[in-house]
């Protein structure tokens, strides 16, 4: 009996050691724990739609674009930069695709290529300015945001819905997941359904997670963000790494833009306002530090889920006004920032 308990205590200690081994894993664990706690809280105290699995799928459906953006943002932030142009790029991509499909009679495949090219173009240009000309990322991507937002209205000023047949078919296609279904009031079984964009976002999360965790490039991102000087001494091409981080973030903005476009099915200058800040907030909640070198793609994923959950809880309580969401999200960011600062303070004390 006593042996067994000591064994389990040992196992517990091992897990704790693994969790507290690095800032990254510790912050990630905190994020996941808080998300699970929040979701359980919602199921128990808010009830309603939260008890159905479809609620979770809806969170994914509505935030597929944000998940992709937050992943790209995390990579840039881990490398020690920032990209605030992503929201503008998303709006530009959806407007260009909308115009291309409806007014130029293009194909869906062409629209996908356009969105990827726009994203890559923004990423490459900004990355070049940041990495090779040594301009602050904030100011470069700020200009990128201005440019994208302005270009949206130059491309087309009025919002409109896309009626292209092939695209509408793609937009309305759902992937049904029978084991996540539930019975409605009439007793009919409704299978859970998710949009195509969710699959894309999950693939992106997995691919980027693998890149960041197990490839040379991924570790180079962490090294450059942690300390550019020592990364250079280790033989890492710092400029190229910085450039690639922005390129990936731009590409993610392009993919995210098309996913967003698939979700809303329209082009409008008002699309994706504030998405850049939401993506940054999600990355921070996910344990990515703006100072660089610390962070995780999974964290960004859970960060988006946490943000969406708290929004839904606030809405379910009947506090529909936009300002309640603003205040709760702000409180949440504040909480996580303080956790981060405490974690790093405790750690630096330990080192001494």
């Amino acid at each position: 009996m006593s042996k067994k308990s000591s064994e389990s205590a040992n196992a517990f200690q091992k897990i704790m050691k693994k969790i507290t081994a690095t800032n990254t894993s510790l912050l990630l664990t905190i994020t996941i724990a808080i998300f699970l706690f929040m979701y359980l809280f919602a199921i128990i105290f808010v009830g309603g739609s939260f008890t159905k699995p479809q609620a979770f799928l809806d969170i994914l459906n509505n935030n597929a674009c944000l998940i992709i953006l937050a992943c790209g943002m995390s990579i840039v932030m881990i490398t020690g930069g920032i990209d605030i142009s992503v929201g503008g790029v998303v709006a530009l991509v959806s407007m260009c695709c909308a115009v291309y499909l409806d007014k130029r009679g293009g194909s869906v495949l062409g629209a996908i290529v356009i969105s990827l090219l726009i994203g890559l173009a923004f990423g490459a240009f900004q990355g070049f300015l940041v990495a090779y000309l040594d301009i602050q990322p904030f100011i470069v991507t700020l200009a990128g945001m201005f440019f994208a937002r302005g270009m949206v209205t130059i491309v087309c000023e009025v919002p409109f819905n896309v009626e292209h047949a092939g695209f509408v078919a793609l937009k309305d296609s759902r992937i049904e997941i029978p084991f996540l279904g539930s019975f409605n009031r009439l007793g009919q079984f409704i299978p859970g359904s998710s949009e195509v964009g969710v699959i894309v976002s999950l693939i992106v999360v997995v691919v980027l997670f693998v890149i960041m965790k197990w490839t040379r490039l991924g570790r180079a991102f962490y090294a450059v963000g942690g300390n550019a000087q020592s990364a250079m001494m280790l033989g890492i091409n710092v400029r190229r790494t910085r450039f690639l981080s922005h390129l990936i973030c731009g590409l993610m903005a392009g993919i995210g833009g098309f996913v967003y476009f698939m979700h809303v099915g329209s082009g409008s200058p008002a699309h994706a306002t504030g998405y850049e800040m939401n993506a940054i907030a999600a990355a921070i909640i996910g344990g990515t530090m703006l100072s660089g070198g610390v962070g995780n793609i999974m964290g960004a994923f859970f960060g988006v889920l946490s943000l969406a959950t708290i929004k839904n809880i606030v809405a379910a309580w009947g506090l529909q006004d936009a300002w309640w969401t603003g205040i709760t999200i702000a409180t949440m960011i504040c909480l996580f920032l303080i956790i981060q600062s405490i974690v790093s303070a405790v750690r630096s004390n330990k080192k001494r």
Partner: protein
């Protein structure tokens, strides 16, 4: 000639060149751009009219913000992105006190000075919150102010219950219009006063020196007896005061407030002003005059674009192009290349001279 040489190497050169280009462009395009005439506003008071007056009038908020933003940038090495939201809070507080318990008022229910002081206190609290996060908790400024950026406008709406307020009192409108009988817009004068105050502060106190030394190297500043936490905190509080002044001007211009639209994106323009002024966004040395000049250049650019019939929503794209060109010109790599080219040419000339002799 000596002054000229000194000017070429200095930081203020970049905004000056930008200004020169803009002025020349407008002179060639349409010389009447610079005409100033004496007109009358809706109330019948004399007011100066013309593009130049518009630039200085509507650029005053930006100039005032640029003052605070420069200090924050210098000391903390980051920018405050919550200034737009803070201005919304300031405006909301001012209207809340002036309107009393009614929604539409024709005369102020409370003295304006009380409302203004309340707004200053409110924005100083916001600044203190941001400053505390940055200095005590060591959060990067952009992230710390992200909190107020998301919550600020919501708080502003909450202060006034999202009412559509209208203040019709002509005395309240002085700050966004003109003092009866004096044709220069009041906002210009307020901005001028702010500039004089900050110039005196920088001249006669050590604030500027302390802010720079904290920005350049926090540890060595601390070893020299400067308290970096206090200096950073102070700069954020000062930026809060600047926001209160802007809030007063903004609400006074319209007599009302749109919680989600007041001073939208002004934080971006304020940061641009600092960057255009040639100040390092990573903290350290700053030049207040060139920041303020940068603010007016941004307004100059905006007005020029309006004159060219660019739709207001598309202006940001053109602004972005100009900004990119400016930052590329002033980027360390490009300036280094230019310097190298110059020194090579000098060396060649020297060699040729030596050969002749």
């Amino acid at each position: 000639m000596k002054i000229f040489k000194k000017l070429i190497g200095s930081q203020i050169m970049l905004p000056l060149i930008a200004l020169l280009v803009l002025v020349l462009f407008n002179l060639i395009w349409d010389p009447s751009f610079f005409a100033i005439s004496l007109g009358a506003n809706n109330a019948g008071d004399p007011i100066l009219k013309g593009n130049l007056v518009t630039i200085f009038d509507y650029g005053s908020e930006l100039a005032i913000l640029a003052i605070g933003m420069t200090l924050v940038t210098a000391a903390s090495g980051g920018q405050d992105i919550s200034v737009g939201a803070t201005i919304a809070i300031a405006g909301s507080v001012i209207l809340r006190i002036i309107r009393g318990n009614e929604v539409n008022v024709d005369t102020m229910k409370a003295p304006l000075i009380v409302a203004f002081i309340a707004a200053v206190v409110a924005t100083m609290l916001v600044g203190a919150f941001n400053g505390a996060l940055v200095s005590f908790f060591k959060v990067p400024p952009m992230v710390a102010t992200l909190i107020m950026f998301t919550a600020g406008r919501s708080i502003a709406g909450w202060i006034n219950n999202y009412d559509n307020i209208y203040i019709g009192d002509p005395r309240f409108k002085i700050f966004g219009g003109v003092v009866p009988g004096f044709p220069v817009p009041t906002a210009i004068i307020i901005a001028l006063v702010c500039m004089i105050v900050i110039a005196l502060v920088l001249k006669f106190t050590t604030l500027g020196l302390y802010a720079q030394s904290v920005g350049i190297n926090e540890k060595s500043a601390k070893l020299n007896g400067i308290n970096p936490i206090f200096v950073k905190f102070l700069t954020f509080v000062l930026l809060g005061v600047c926001c209160a002044v802007c809030g007063l001007i903004q609400t006074s211009r319209l007599g009302t407030i749109n919680y989600s639209n007041i001073s939208l994106n002004i934080e971006m323009d304020a940061i641009l002003a600092v960057a255009l002024g040639g100040n390092a966004l990573g903290g350290g040395k700053f030049n207040m005059a060139s920041s303020v000049l940068g603010a007016y250049i941004i307004q100059f650019l905006t007005v020029t674009l309006y004159k060219l019939d660019v739709p207001s929503t598309a202006i940001s794209a053109y602004k972005a192009v100009v900004v990119i060109i400016l930052v590329v010109i002033s980027s360390p790599v490009v300036t280094k290349k230019i310097k190298e080219m110059k020194s090579r040419r000098n060396a060649k000339e020297a060699a040729r001279k030596a050969g002749v002799e």
